[in-house]
């Protein structure tokens, strides 16, 4: 079946979902699932070798002829939108149900459909104006999803920050597309590599798309928005919508000529984003904020891959360039899958305990074995551990970087530091997720909320299982998924069409299967032994203290203490310490908070100045008619003097 009817069906289903979401949850769920399945079918048929689907209509929308096109790059992202969109709609059926949220649940369903529809529009639009319209719609839909729980002040604050930051980005994109249209004479998009005078426009696109992707230091909106949104929304925001920023960068770099510095800047920004993102993630004590910062890190990895691929294009090194691009594209998928899985897991924890604060949790694996196991799988995958899918994409990026270094081209100067930083990032990511997993699921429950936790229901467990299975599938059979990514690389860089499967990927695939088998066997043995004999329980050695309590376990702050110290210059942690005094000290406290450094130390002061200037200018708008007439007179006199003086000269 060609993608056309499938895409039409998907769009119709989602549009019907916008209406149906208001009144019936089950009808909406069925519509959304059918639509996402259709979209996935369209994307899959194209990635599996179908011809490029194109639709041109002379019927103008907003004055421009409609031009839709699905090529392999769009299809790659569309598949991710469809998978996470479908999984999230099932998850929301229980997580954000009508019983729990009678007010916001219908609204949430409506905006969910609108979000998926507009993201599809972004991916299919081949006209700059329509792209912008879809882009703005999807930004607004995401805003309403973030602020579903808008009676809470921090949710509203996060929503406004997201909206204002997004509009800063949209402004850059408006400038970008408008300048492009002005110079080419048409809003139509497409390859225009020979127009070298368009190269400086790349910087506008970098800011606009980079802001949406959460590139450091433009990530300021991301942690609070992703942490305060409902978890299924966090999942699609972190897993999919920030990838649309990457999609935009991929398109821009694929179509336009680039400034010479662009690949170097991109790879440098990627390295900084990855390292700083994970440093911030490690220091967080709020589970969802930790996951959000971790998304920043993963965007950094993707940017390293993309920047490296651009270096390869500029220098004509197809071999490692392909590896880097494939790594980046694989990571788009992989991160979308496991980050959604992790946010679903976090939502399940939040649903069961009512808190995102890791230091209030603990020991949840007994009450929530499914969530614990699936979260652990996602955590291992995102840390880039074999035999899971995170390892595949990071390994491809490493391989490309190493090839670039051994190739002794000038690119080695960027590739070597990038590889080192990627290594540090990977280690910190592992530490971050050891911390998160251990704080939440291991040890003893620290509070009553954690003691009375319960496992999530089948509607929430099902989507998590699906995502976990996809993660494992990509991990165990990378060779199967390679051609799909290779087609996307071919669409991005036409010279790279026939891309054979790297021989090492076969070896890696078998190795992954062997490792997975070993891990499974070890796990089963442990389970069998524990079931047979029961795990022996002992008190830890506690210096003979007589009344140990669960609160004396490692906290997330103490776990991250040492590594937090390494990055203190960046994180600027704020500490309040009240030492125990006297022989029988009654009170001693220690509070440690990691601020949003970039936001609070850079953006807020700048915004304050802008606000002051605006307030001063706003005094001109006071409502006194007399002064308004005076403004008119002054303006007239000014214009008149310009005419008179201009006429003289």
């Amino acid at each position: 079946m060609t993608p056309g009817p499938l895409l039409l069906g998907a769009a119709a289903g989602l549009a019907a979902g916008v209406v149906a979401g208001r009144w019936n949850a089950r009808v909406w769920l069925a519509l959304t699932l059918v639509s996402t399945a259709a979209a996935l079918g369209a994307a899959g048929s194209l990635l599996l070798g179908g011809a490029i689907w194109e639709f041109v209509s002379t019927f103008p929308i907003a004055g421009q002829p409609l031009h839709l096109r699905l090529d392999a790059v769009s299809a790659l992202f569309l598949a991710l939108v469809a998978i996470v969109g479908g999984a999230g709609s099932v998850y929301a059926h229980e997580y954000w149900s009508n019983q729990d949220y009678p007010q916001s649940a219908p609204r949430g369903r409506m905006w969910w459909s609108a979000l998926l529809l507009s993201m599809g529009g972004v991916l299919l639009s081949w006209n700059g104006l329509h792209f912008l319209i879809a882009w703005e719609l999807f930004t607004v839909a995401a805003f309403f999803l973030i602020t579903l729980e808008r009676q809470r002040r921090d949710v509203r604050a996060a929503g406004w920050l997201y909206l204002s930051a997004s509009h800063l980005g949209t402004m850059c994109l408006f400038a970008f597309f408008a300048a492009l249209a002005a110079r080419t004479g048409s809003w139509e998009l497409g390859p225009m590599r020979e127009r070298t005078e368009l190269a400086p426009l790349f910087w506008l696109a970098l800011v606009g798309f980079g802001l949406k992707a959460g590139m450091f230091p433009l990530h300021i909106w991301l942690p609070s928005a992703h942490a305060n949104a409902p978890s299924h929304v966090s999942a699609i925001m972190s897993g999919v919508t920030i990838k649309l920023g990457i999609y935009g960068l991929l398109r821009t770099t694929g179509w336009l000529p680039l400034p010479v510095a662009a690949p170097w800047i991109l790879i440098g920004l990627g390295a900084i984003t990855a390292l700083f993102g994970i440093a911030f993630a490690f220091a967080q004590s709020d589970l969802k904020r930790l996951l959000a910062y971790c998304s920043v890190e993963n965007i950094g990895i993707i940017l390293i891959g993309l920047g490296g691929a651009l270096l390869a294009v500029a220098d004509g090194h197809a071999v490692w360039g392909r590896l880097l691009l494939a790594g980046a594209l694989f990571h788009v998928w992989n991160h979308g899958l496991f980050k959604s899985l992790l946010f679903f897991g976090a939502g399940s924890v939040l649903h069961a305990t009512g808190t995102r604060e890791m230091s209030r949790l603990g020991g949840l694996w007994r009450a929530m074995p499914w969530t614990a196991a699936l979260f652990a799988l996602g955590a291992a995958a995102i840390s880039g551990l074999p035999p899971l899918n995170g390892f595949i994409s990071e390994w491809l990026v490493y391989l490309g970087l190493f090839d670039a270094v051994t190739g002794r081209s000038p690119a080695a100067w960027a590739a070597m530091p990038a590889a080192i930083i990627l290594g540090i990032t990977g280690a910190l990511a592992l530490a971050t997720f050891v911390k998160a997993g251990a704080m939440i699921f291991l040890g003893a429950p620290r509070t009553a909320a954690a003691r009375h936790a319960h496992e999530c229901g089948p509607w929430m467990r099902g989507p998590m299982l699906v995502l976990a299975i996809l993660c494992v599938a990509i991990a165990l059979a990378p060779v199967v998924f390679w051609p799909l990514v290779a087609r996307a690389s071919g669409a991005w860089q036409p010279m790279w069409t026939e891309m054979p499967v790297p021989a090492s990927l076969f070896t890696l695939g078998s190795l992954q299967i062997a490792l997975a088998g070993l891990a499974l066997a070890a796990g089963l043995t442990l389970w069998w032994r524990a079931r047979g004999a029961g795990a022996p329980r002992h008190l830890t050695w506690d210096c003979a203290y007589a009344a140990p309590s669960a609160r004396m376990q490692y906290s997330s702050g103490s776990f991250a203490g040492i590594a937090g110290g390494w990055f203190a210059w960046l994180l600027q942690p704020q500490r309040q310490l009240r030492r125990p005094r006297g022989l029988f000290p009654a009170i001693a406290t220690r509070v440690e908070r990691v601020p949003e450094t970039v936001l609070e130390l850079i953006f807020t002061p700048v915004a304050t100045v802008i606000l002051q200037v605006s307030t001063a200018v706003r005094r001109l708008q006071h409502g006194r008619l007399q002064y308004y007439i005076a403004y008119v007179v002054v303006a007239l006199a000014g214009l008149g003097s310009i005419v008179v003086l201009g006429g003289r000269s």
Partner: protein, 213 residues
């Protein structure tokens, strides 16, 4: 003929200054009325041969500007029960100085403009600029709505004066249209003045700052 017109323009400029310097609303209204009649008379003086359309418009202008509008304004003034402009944002002496300076500037500006030779000796252009400026000063400097209406009328008189330059080419129907607009505008302002008075017990427009944007 031209000297008669110049005399009338000089009268209009003098009335401008009277309107600027007076704090009593009846005298401002009176100044506007006399100015309107003087200006209404001009088309008759400018046209050498008698034209009944021009005559009709001149009579109409004089009737509306000299009688109808002043009567409406006086009635609004009585309804609102105010006689004086109490606290102008530009005082009366500064207003007068502005008006006088504006008149001099208008003469200078008229000299600088590339006018047709037949208009060069006429006071029409400086008088027009001076009236427009006076209208603006009244609009900006007065807080009572009725004084502002007077400013608006003087502003319109200035525009009308400028329009007289084109009397040979422009159909006077355009001027008639302006007149109609003006009458409707004054009606509307009369109604609004009444409403403001009833709602707020004051005609001070500087207090009407809440419904902005």
């Amino acid at each position: 003929m031209n000297s008669n017109v110049n005399l009338l323009v000089g009268l209009a400029i003098g009335l401008n200054l009277l309107a600027l310097g007076s704090s009593r609303l009846p005298s401002v209204i009176g100044a506007v009325a006399v100015q309107g009649m003087a200006i209404g008379l001009m088309p008759l003086l400018l046209e050498s041969d008698f034209n009944w359309i021009v005559a009709l418009v001149a009579v109409g202008t004089m009737a509306v500007k000299g009688f109808v509008i002043p009567v409406l304004l006086r009635r609004a003034m009585r309804t609102a029960n105010i006689e004086r402009e109490v606290d102008p944002s530009i005082g009366f002496v500064p207003s007068l100085l502005l008006g006088a300076g504006g008149t001099i500037a208008a003469v200078a500006l008229a000299r600088a403009l590339p006018l047709l030779p037949e208009h060069a000796g006429s006071l029409l252009v400086p008088g027009s600029f001076a009236s427009v400026l006076t209208g603006f000063v009244l609009l900006i400097g007065r807080s009572k709505a009725i004084a502002q209406v007077c400013g608006y009328l003087i502003l319109e008189n200035g525009i009308y004066l400028f329009g007289l330059l084109l009397i040979r080419t422009t159909p006077l129907l355009v001027e008639a249209g302006i007149l109609l607009d003006l009458t409707v505008g004054v009606f509307v302002i009369g109604i609004i003045v009444d409403r403001i008075q009833r709602a707020f017990d004051s005609l001070d427009t500087s207090k009407l700052t809440v419904l902005r944007e």
